[in-house]
């Protein structure tokens, strides 16, 4: 198959560098849990992209952001949560996140953007909750870094305007209602997806967020 050539690369590392750019298109996508795939343009997270997740407090935006990490972490991709000083670790486990692949930077002490940029070097998905409205330049710099490192940035914000640059995808929890039966059983949430990747009208998907056992499911 390979004819012997006069000049072999000096080492396999050099060879690996030489063939690096020809990665297949599928490796530019990171998997998401099946119930969420209809929200995303490719049915998966696109490397180098940004997803902004918003919703009123208590409507499930945090759960939705954490749920985006599930399939990526179980597939062996490293994930990070920056600025979530109060992550519900048990809820993450119930959602299906593989906690062995998640690092937390709960209190980045005013350096959340620097921390996020640093994590892009070795982590595939960074879920970040900025402390306040993000400066335009900081957001631009993070976007460039994510694109350069082929990582995904998921921003958790209360309002869409807190993230100053247009994102590939914005997910917003527009309705949320709990079902209780002696205990809180599940929450039915309607999520709206808009963004550059979605043509035409926004998509609406209703989800159990979380469902009875803590995982996400599509609500009929």
């Amino acid at each position: 198959m390979f004819a012997p050539r006069s000049e072999l690369p000096a080492s396999t590392a050099a060879l690996a560098m030489a063939i690096r750019p020809t990665s297949p298109a599928s490796s530019r996508l990171l998997p998401v849990a099946a119930p969420l795939s209809s929200l995303l343009p490719d049915g998966a997270l696109r490397r180098g992209g940004t997803v902004v997740v918003t919703g009123s407090p208590g409507w499930g935006a945090t759960s939705l952001g954490l749920a985006l990490l599930t399939a990526a972490s179980t597939a062996g991709h490293w994930c990070a949560a920056v600025g979530l000083d109060d992550p519900g670790v048990v809820a993450m486990a119930e959602l299906g996140v593989d906690l062995r692949r998640v690092v937390f930077v709960p209190r980045p002490r005013g350096a959340w953007a620097a921390a996020t940029a640093e994590l892009f070097e070795g982590v595939d998905v960074v879920l970040a909750r900025p402390p306040a409205r993000v400066a335009h330049t900081a957001a631009r710099r993070l976007l460039a870094r994510a694109r350069d490192r082929a990582a995904v940035l998921v921003v958790l914000a209360e309002h869409r305007d807190d993230w100053p640059v247009p994102s590939e995808l914005a997910l917003e929890v527009t309705e949320a209602a709990w079902h209780a039966n002696g205990r809180l059983v599940s929450r039915r949430a309607v999520v709206r997806a808009v963004g550059r990747g979605i043509t035409g009208r926004p998509r609406y998907v209703s989800l159990w967020l979380p469902g009875a056992q803590g995982a996400v499911a599509v609500a009929s």
């Binding site: 590392a13 930077v105 921390a115 949320a176 469902g211």
Partner: protein, 364 residues
């Protein structure tokens, strides 16, 4: 069995008083990994490489081993000898390196036969076999496996399989303590205790993640980067904790939390757990504080929920309470949990303890 090329540096095999050998061998290992990415250390001074890939790349096993010697030799200076051998299975390949031969494919059994029984690293077995007149691996391999089992036991059967060339992994051949030390030497600028992946292996992604975390720790200070630890318990804050990256108990098994735990709060669990205690006020229709009685019942129906900051909420529904009396044998702790659903869709988990209500979680 996988055909392996084994490289042995006798001068680096035993750790001297100055402790230079692990560092020297780490350099050899790094050089070998450059040539063949699947090179793995076996013990101090010995590393093994699956033969197939590099042999095809360099145009034959002989060419590859020559190349390997050419790269490793200068690293040892004039003093060190480099022995390279190849055979099927790790045990035979290590012996081949000792003899510096490339055993022809398929003839590993006949290669092993003349070696002394002492190479099986079991003095008792060796002594017994010597008395029986079985001085070589070939004679020992000629015994029936059932006879070996009844005469010498299960451990000897594993060595018997190695002697026959059926199995390459001789117990005790890999020196795990030395490998851990070697890891520490190779990853000097990484934390020595790092997150392990599935079954403890580390891939390239894990190394990159560890490096990024390490740089971040240098910027923010030790303990700024944490990982989750899951354990047993009834409440979400008991069951999980964030521990600093690299701490010994950091590895979350991912199994403990599935085990049944009587009295556990029902799932789903809140997606936000306040990291510091937050006091809230739970009031009834008349503005009186709601309390939990000794029998675990609410004194009144909750109607309003007031946070330390922010506007008060109207309680739409509540579930519970779940009273818990724990640790009666030591520091007694009595508490009760209550799920409260507000009219704006906010759902929270509250905890009554020391006659106050605390925010235990937000179902965000």
């Amino acid at each position: 069995m996988v055909r392996l090329v084994v490289l042995w540096c006798p001068s680096l095999s035993t750790e001297g008083p100055r402790g230079e050998e692990p560092r020297g061998f780490a350099e050899v290992l790094d050089a070998a990994v450059e040539l063949a990415p699947f090179a793995r250390p076996v013990r101090l001074g010995v590393l093994a490489i699956p033969s197939r890939g590099p042999s095809r790349f360099f145009g034959g096993e002989a060419a590859f081993t020559e190349h390997l010697k050419g790269v490793v030799g200068p690293l040892l200076g004039g003093a060190g000898r480099v022995c390279v051998g190849a055979a099927e299975g790790l045990f035979a390949a290590v012996l081949a390196a000792r003899a510096s031969v490339l055993v022809a494919p398929g003839s590993t059994g006949s290669f092993l036969a003349p070696w002394s029984i002492a190479t099986l690293r079991d003095p008792d077995l060796a002594a017994a076999c010597q008395r029986l007149g079985l001085h070589t691996l070939g004679r020992f391999a000629g015994l029936e496996e059932a006879r070996v089992l009844e005469r010498f036991g299960l451990d000897a059967v594993r060595r018997h399989r190695v002697a026959r060339g059926v199995d390459g992994e001789l117990p005790g051949l890999r020196d795990y303590a030395a490998l851990r030390r070697l890891d520490a030497v190779r990853c000097r600028d990484e934390p020595t205790e790092v997150q392990r992946g599935f079954f403890g292996e580390r891939g390239g992604a894990d190394v990159r993640a560890a490096a990024a975390v390490h740089r971040l720790e240098q910027r923010l200070g030790h303990g700024a980067v944490t990982v989750a630890r899951l354990g047993g318990g009834r409440t979400p804050d008991d069951r999980a904790a964030l521990v600093p990256w690299g701490s010994a108990d950091a590895v979350s098994e991912g199994r403990d939390h599935v085990a049944p735990w009587p009295g556990r709060l029902p799932s789903p669990s809140p997606a936000s757990i306040p990291s510091r205690p937050l006091h809230v006020a739970l009031l009834d229709d008349h503005g009186r504080r709601v309390a939990v009685s000794a029998t675990g019942l609410l004194s009144a129906v909750p109607a309003r929920l007031e946070f330390e900051a922010g506007r008060p909420r109207v309680v739409a529904a509540h579930c519970g309470p779940w009273p818990m009396a724990e640790r009666w044998w030591g520091v007694s702790r009595r508490r009760a949990h209550l799920q409260v659903l507000c009219d704006d869709g906010l759902a929270v988990l509250l905890r009554a303890e020391r006659s106050r209500w605390w925010l235990s979680g937000i179902y965000d």
